[in-house]
């Protein structure tokens, strides 16, 4: 009897330890599965890409390889915010001035495009009035708007912002308008039975119901804006990541051009992910 008690205690402790091991094992197994199926393919793809690039650069003296580009990047990012006068600034400053242009141009596009989309969605007459204009102007190549901007504003910077604005506003308007027309009749019936006033209908029903559509428009619009900024800065010059690419091309600094491509891609990806995160928060069911 006296001997039985300690053995029982030991076996309890053993069981507990075994359970802990089991949990640890399952966690590891889960993490392993996640690595193998979600992370590994992406990493492999990237590795293959870098390998292909390396091989390509071996056969082409003009194209710097991954190693050389990385070296250049380390030097570049060691001091991204130097400032030697308006035509020689660090990549950080150029990136920030591009982001600022996109912020202003695309911000204005949202500020005008979202309310406009709401009006077009709510009032059929307006949407019929706007339909021919939108279908005519939307497919116009963004840079075709640049001369108009230069003509009107007489300066490069607002002209670039204008190009961002006019090319990114269409997806915002169109998606918002579609979202408003897709608000389920059930929700509008609730509003009718309750006889909610126009303000309540807007804040409690139309806005939340259309928000996912609006955010889709914002995501597409921001994508366009970021696509267009590089091209328009190449033409307008002064500052910005697009100008920087053009400047480095004139200096024949190909490493820097490749770095710029990666920077533009990464920033675009981050912007998109940020909006996706917001959109997820506002999606129901």
């Amino acid at each position: 009897m006296t001997a039985a008690l300690p053995t029982e205690e030991i076996s309890d402790a053993r069981l507990a330890r075994a359970a802990r091991w089991k949990i640890a094992y399952e966690w590891l197994a889960g993490a392993g599965r996640f690595m193998v199926f979600n992370i590994l393919p992406g990493v492999t793809g990237l590795a293959l890409f870098v390998l292909g690039w390396e091989i390509l650069s071996q056969h082409n003296a003009q194209l710097p390889g991954p190693g050389k580009t990385l070296d250049a990047a380390l030097v570049l990012f060691a001091d991204p915010f130097y400032n030697n006068g308006p035509n020689d600034q660090g990549i950080g400053w150029n990136l920030l001035s591009s982001l600022q242009r996109v912020g202003i141009g695309f911000g204005l596009a949202c500020l005008i495009g979202i309310p406009l989309g709401f009006m077009l969605g709510r009032f059929v007459v307006l949407s019929r009035m706007a339909a021919p204009i939108i279908s005519l102007l939307r497919p116009v190549s963004p840079l075709a708007w640049l001369p108009i901007g230069l003509l009107v504003f007489q300066k490069a910077d607002p002209a670039a912002i204008w190009v961002i604005f006019i090319s990114s506003i269409w997806p915002v308007i169109i998606n918002t308008a579609v979202g408003v027309t897709r608000v389920p009749q059930d929700y509008l019936n609730v509003a009718r039975v309750l006889q909610l006033n126009e303000f309540r209908i807007m804040t409690r029903i139309l806005l939340p119901a259309t928000l996912p559509y609006v955010l889709t428009g914002v995501r597409l619009g921001l994508g366009v804006a970021w696509l267009v900024i590089v091209a328009s800065e190449m033409l307008t010059g002064g500052s910005g990541i697009g100008f920087w690419v053009w400047d480095e091309w004139n200096n024949l600094n190909v490493e820097h051009i490749i770095i710029a491509i990666f920077v533009v891609g990464t920033v675009g990806l981050l912007l998109e992910q940020a909006i996706m995160l917001v959109a997820k928060r506002f999606t129901y069911e």
């Binding site: 059930d186 609730v190 009718r192 309750l194 006889q195 909610l196 309540r200 409690r204 129901y284 069911e285």
Partner: protein, 263 residues
């Protein structure tokens, strides 16, 4: 007879692809204050359409509808609707869904704490105070339907319009909510029009059962007085000859004289 809700010679046509579609014709129905009426008929005969006419969500093509001696010119909170598919706003919590209605009806007269108390009381009535701050997608179908009922009851409407409120529920939940509804209605003396396709439910709850013929051009085929004393107990009714007589009459109407159209 006291006519609280009155439907007079009402017909309604819809514009459809094949031209005008006559859904209901020559509907005449008078409902007294405090009366519980169920509408029964085969799927697609126009039960929801008739209910929506009383709600004011649809306008009749011919005829007129009155409520409390005034023409029904549109929807309004004095005729609360429990929709066939609950129609909760998914971005609001259960509390906020009910509160939206409470605020609309009593917002001018009562202060914030009174409005909150009303909202909570309505949710408590349907046994949902524990799920008050959940969003509709976080609760079961039966719970959603109960929030829809709470929203309608919280408005203290003159007429409660219910479109198959228990249609999507399992038998146990359904029985429980039927009992709750009977208690609430007897306490508040509400006038209720309820659509159902369940014969037992119609007999259990109603003072009168309105039976509709099949569409197109559906109309009221027959109206049965249930005539069972209240409060009603579902177990006791199982041995009540009057219950069985009414049930048999409804069944005969639905399955013998107006069979489901072969579609």
């Amino acid at each position: 007879m006291n006519r609280f809700v009155s439907v007079e010679d009402v017909s309604i046509e819809f514009n459809s692809r094949g031209g005008r579609f006559l859904a209901l014709r020559d509907i005449n129905l008078q409902i007294a204050k405090g009366e519980f009426v169920t509408l029964i008929g085969h799927s697609g005969c126009g039960k929801s359409t008739l209910l929506n006419l009383v709600a004011g969500l649809l306008d009749p093509t011919r005829g007129v509808l009155l409520c409390n001696n005034r023409e029904i010119a549109g929807p309004g909170p004095e005729r609360a609707v429990v929709f066939q598919n609950h129609s909760l706003l998914p971005w609001l919590t259960c509390f906020q869904n009910v509160h939206l209605a409470v605020e609309r009806v009593f917002g001018g007269k009562e202060d914030r704490s009174a409005l909150n108390a009303r909202t909570e009381a309505a949710l408590e009535l349907v046994g949902l105070n524990h799920a008050m701050h959940k969003q509709p997608h976080e609760i079961s179908g039966g719970m959603k339907q109960r929030v829809g009922i709470a929203r309608a009851l919280a408005m203290e409407p003159q007429v409660l319009l219910m479109d198959e409120p228990f249609g999507a529920l399992d038998a146990l939940t359904r029985a429980h909510l039927q009992d709750e509804l009977m208690k609430i209605v007897s306490r508040t003396a509400s006038t209720v029009i309820m659509v159902t396709h369940d014969v037992d439910e119609a007999v259990l709850l109603a003072d009168r059962i309105v039976m509709m013929t099949n569409g197109p051009a559906a109309t009221i085929g027959e109206i049965v007085d249930v005539g069972l004393a209240r409060p009603r107990d579902r177990l006791a009714l199982a041995n009540d000859p009057q219950y069985h007589a009414v049930r048999a009459r409804v069944l005969e109407f639905l399955y013998k004289r107006h069979q489901r159209p072969a579609a």
